[in-house]
Point group: C2
Chain length 312, copies 2
């Protein structure tokens, strides 16, 4: 047997990244290393795993079938080695975390940094991307999710709540007319969110007046906020993303009485048994970090915005 775990991991990483250079960048390696590992693995197996088209690669059917089988086996192998670290031993191995970009950038950095400092032998991989990833498939140990969970196969734990507000810039309102009553909504456009359709973006029932889909859309909250600031439409966004701009007057909170429920923020993880200790400790750490006052609540103290709807 002349392949290694690193060959397998590299293979799966290239599959996930869709390219050799993508996988190399994620691993902070040179692409020649990744290219050679793939070639060596193919040689060891005796079959091609990727087809090459002038600098582009595509996985073969063999590669896809193989990955289906390798992932659970590799996860079990890793879980086995990690299970043997008893309660007295410090955490080791790798913890791969997936989180929405805007939430991750603002609120996860220090939380995760604290966890990483407490476990110096633990390798942390962070992936901020609003696209919902299949945790097990993508090799993530933990995900953070904002919104109601759809994947009942995952284990989950509620961390806190994420209130959303409808915002618009002064320029937008000057150009498109006032928005003082819900009946004004159909005359307005709302900035789209690439990862959901309007049906899911607008959280009120079909009888409730709703804005039209806008001509612009983005794949994360920060970009949507900036488009709103630029006067391109309304935006329904988590409070933590817009509160600075609101305080600075670049955008305003419109229709503050809209009956929009806050979104739950949850940690989710694959149902591996036993639950890997690193996952359990990290989820506990998250729960502690977000217990009590959510971060954006503390920051909103100086803003003239109604906060009565925020849960204590």
């Amino acid at each position: 047997m002349n392949w290694s775990i690193i060959d397998i991991e590299t293979f799966l990483a290239v599959l996930d990244a869709g390219s050799i250079s993508g996988a190399a960048a994620r691993a902070d390696l040179s692409k020649s290393v990744v290219s050679k590992r793939i070639t060596d693995f193919e040689k060891a197996l005796g079959v091609p795993l990727f087809t090459r088209h002038a600098g582009r690669i595509a996985p073969t059917d063999n590669a896809l079938a193989l990955s289906e089988r390798l992932r659970p086996a590799l996860a079990e192998l890793i879980a086995a080695t990690e299970s043997v670290t008893g309660s007295e031993a410090e955490l080791r191995g790798r913890l791969a975390i997936s989180a929405p970009m805007s939430f991750g950038i603002r609120h996860l950095g220090p939380v995760i940094a604290g966890f990483a400092r407490a476990h110096p032998e633990l390798e942390i991989v962070l992936d901020y991307d609003d696209q919902i990833t299949d945790l097990g498939r993508s090799g993530f140990d933990v995900g953070l999710r904002i919104g109601h969970l759809k994947d009942s196969a995952l284990m989950s734990r509620r961390l806190c709540e994420d209130p959303r507000v409808l915002v618009a810039s002064p320029d937008y309102l000057a150009m498109h007319g006032p928005l003082t009553d819900v009946s004004d909504l159909p005359r307005h456009e709302i900035i789209g969110y690439l990862n959901v359709r309007l049906g899911e973006l607008w959280p009120l029932n079909a009888d409730f007046p709703r804005p039209r889909p806008g001509r612009v859309m983005a794949n994360n909250g920060d970009a949507m906020r900036d488009l709103a600031i630029g006067g391109l439409g309304l935006a329904l966004l988590p409070l933590f993303i817009v509160h600075d701009a609101i305080r600075e007057g670049r955008i305003g909170h419109v229709l503050p009485d809209l009956p929009i429920e806050p979104l739950p923020v949850s940690a989710v993880w694959p149902p591996i048994r036993p639950m890997p200790r690193k996952v359990r400790l990290f989820v506990d750490h998250l729960v502690n970090a977000f217990a009590g006052t959510p971060p954006w609540h503390a920051k909103m103290r100086g803003a003239s915005i109604r906060t009565g709807k925020l849960s204590s």
Copy 2:
């Protein structure tokens, strides 16, 4: 993650061999390499896997628990990589075969050599030992078994039949009296077989006269034959082991009409699904090799022994 497949395999090999030098000898490596790998693996996991007592090692509880979990995961990982070699690709990887010593020495060498020549990328590991091994536990892909199968969890396939004969040397008979009728049996001793008790060694029912347990015993058929030649007792042995000595007159076939059924010779393997291709091809190869005339039948053409009981 800073361990490798080789670390895991080395760990399991040391567990199986019971010592570092044993595992090193099997792998044709220096013991310092194996020692270092174990130490590195322990360091990577953060827990000791073996206790050391002045040049002796014993596995910790953690090590035993870990191995229980690692073996199936590793087997699946390997099976996955081997499954991807389609029907067009040649066999690769390692095929580990366990077989009884006397049968292996005589009849498996050329069969396996033929298979190995047909699959030059396949690594073959042979382990001849009459002790029945737990295939899955010991990392064997295929076993050959002589006798009725007791482990119903294994997959099996009948290869051929192994007739047994009762033999004694002229010196033994001269000293202990003739053996011309079954009623003479209780006056004689039979050489013991370490891996079975007499109750299993003597295959006729309790009412049938039987020899007494002898004062000597051995753990394989060749040794038992040699003890019989040395006049130490009767021996009930597979024909393939004794036919040369019979032909040379060193021992004789006594009570040729004993109603002793031949033993079945079977290939067995763990019930991995899908069945690894290398195992399937090897079992097919065995079936072909032992089809028709068993090897010892061809050799018995020149001997004056009744062969009517041999199947065609």
